[in-house]
């Protein structure tokens, strides 16, 4: 299953990278003679209401959604690792991070993400708006992973092999650098792989409600916004393809996260 998931993600990644070679259209190019066209040899997934090629928008949108979600997940994991390891240290740092986790996890982040996104001015550059949207999503996503990492680090700090390392003269920063942090990496990878689909799905929900990545930039969430119009799904079923690919990507990433989880259990 893990190989299938990895294979699918690699194939999708290649398709997105080689996108410009696969389709002659750009995401913003309009073909006004083919408005809301059905799939044909020229437009493999038809066109949208502005005559833009759906397949090109899907490829470019996938690039943007995946890249930005990956960057936001990476940033969230870095924050989670920093706060999580600080929380595993005894004393004031443990107490301070415990309060921070509690507060972060008690806030209605979904509502705050909506607020931040809605407050951005309409004339802001689309790429800036997209970057801010994902930055906010990343900021809201670090706390769960941080708490998992803190507990894992605290568990490792009291484990027999760390005690043995201490007994053989390893201590302080060296103990963390050589023995604890390397063993946290698989868990960090799992958190990354779990956070990535979560951010992509949240952006897609924002996109469907009109607060995702702004036009003319494409995104998978933005592609799904077309479905909100009545009868689109029944009369133009190919508009469901982004949802299908989003689900496959998300399942594959979670499957890989499960694989790294097992590896982590072996480490533990």
């Amino acid at each position: 299953m893990n190989r299938a998931a990895a294979g699918l993600l690699i194939a999708l990644g290649l398709l997105l990278i080689l996108g410009p070679l696969v389709t002659p259209y750009t995401y913003a190019a309009q073909d006004r003679d083919h408005i809301l066209a059905s799939p044909d040899a020229d437009h493999w997934l038809g066109t949208d209401a502005l005559g833009r090629d759906n397949f090109a928008r899907f490829l470019y949108g996938g690039r943007l959604s995946l890249t930005m979600a990956a960057a936001a997940s990476l940033a969230a994991c870095a924050v989670a690792a920093a706060v999580g390891t600080a929380g595993a240290l005894p004393g004031a740092s443990h107490a301070a991070t415990a309060v921070l986790f509690d507060v972060m996890l008690s806030m209605p982040w979904f509502l705050l993400v909506f607020i931040v996104r809605a407050l951005l001015p309409l004339d802001a550059p689309p790429l800036t708006t997209a970057a801010i949207t994902f930055a906010v999503l990343g900021f809201t996503g670090w706390a769960h992973g941080g708490r998992v990492l803190r507990d894992a680090a605290a568990g490792m700090a009291g484990s027999p092999w760390v005690r043995q390392a201490r007994a053989t003269g390893s201590g302080g920063a060296a103990l963390w650098r050589r023995h604890i942090i390397p063993n946290l990496l698989p868990l960090l990878l799992t958190q990354f792989l779990l956070l990535l689909p979560m951010l992509m799905l949240t952006e897609a929900t924002l996109g469907m409600l009109g607060l995702g990545i702004p036009e003319p930039l494409p995104s998978w969430g933005g592609s799904l916004a077309e479905l909100v119009r009545p009868d689109t799904a029944t009369q133009r079923p190919w508009t469901l393809i982004p949802a299908l690919l989003l689900a496959l990507t998300s399942i594959s990433l979670r499957q890989l996260a499960g694989g790294t989880d097992k590896r982590e259990a072996v480490f533990g």
Partner: protein, 273 residues
Amino acid sequence: MHLALRFLRLPITLAITFLVLTALLWNAPGRDMDEARWGQTQTAASALPKWSSGLDFAAWYAGELLHGRGGTSIQFNVPVMELIAERAPVTAGHAWRGFLAAWLATLLAGSLSYFWPAAGRAALGAGSLLRSLPAAFVVLALVLAGAPAWIGLAVVLWPKASSYWLTLLSQSGGRNHVLALIAQGAGPWRTQWHGIWRPCARQLAGLLAVTVPLLLGALIPVEVLCDEPGLGQLAWKAVAGRDLPLLTTITLLFTAVTSTASLLAESLLPEAQ
């Protein structure tokens, strides 16, 4: 003492949320432009005090709260508490139905998985697929199929609830007391009741509390797409209209519910921490 400190978290979280929200709203680019628009088109805007800074708004709002009010909505020109009292029953109506339906389906899937492990795997598979789709997409599909809002909430909530519960059940199924019950010849229902359900009652209550914030998160897309005049839709309208008093009150209300549910979950389910 520890419990008292834990419950202090509620006002601290509310205060921090209030400060974060005020800072966000006050420093938002384009806020001045919108205020000018409100000044021309909304009568309520002229009736509201002119806040000179975010701190000024925070002080005004804190005073309003102390008097049991939340100010007047800029968009609707109606006291905020009146709007919330009007919309809360709509949200409560489908929220409890959705919550109940999601958890009944979860418990049913859990029970069936004990007799037929394939049913448990099928439930996990279906849950995994639903969790891999955007919540708004799932809700939209249900709306197009003519399903009411509570079904949408249940379908968004069920995958997460069932994943937690099935994991807990699979962990409990192999414990010594369960194996001892089976060895003593207890039937599957008795084994489930005495070996799993009763010992897990506290964890189950904790899991119920854990899913309350998830329900709140699903409210906005569900009520917006189903066109239900509840608190989720009101929050959406407040965001779209940058209605400061309304937005602040709804956010604090959601924060209070989320924090209380989290506190309850941690009290009942230490693993949640």
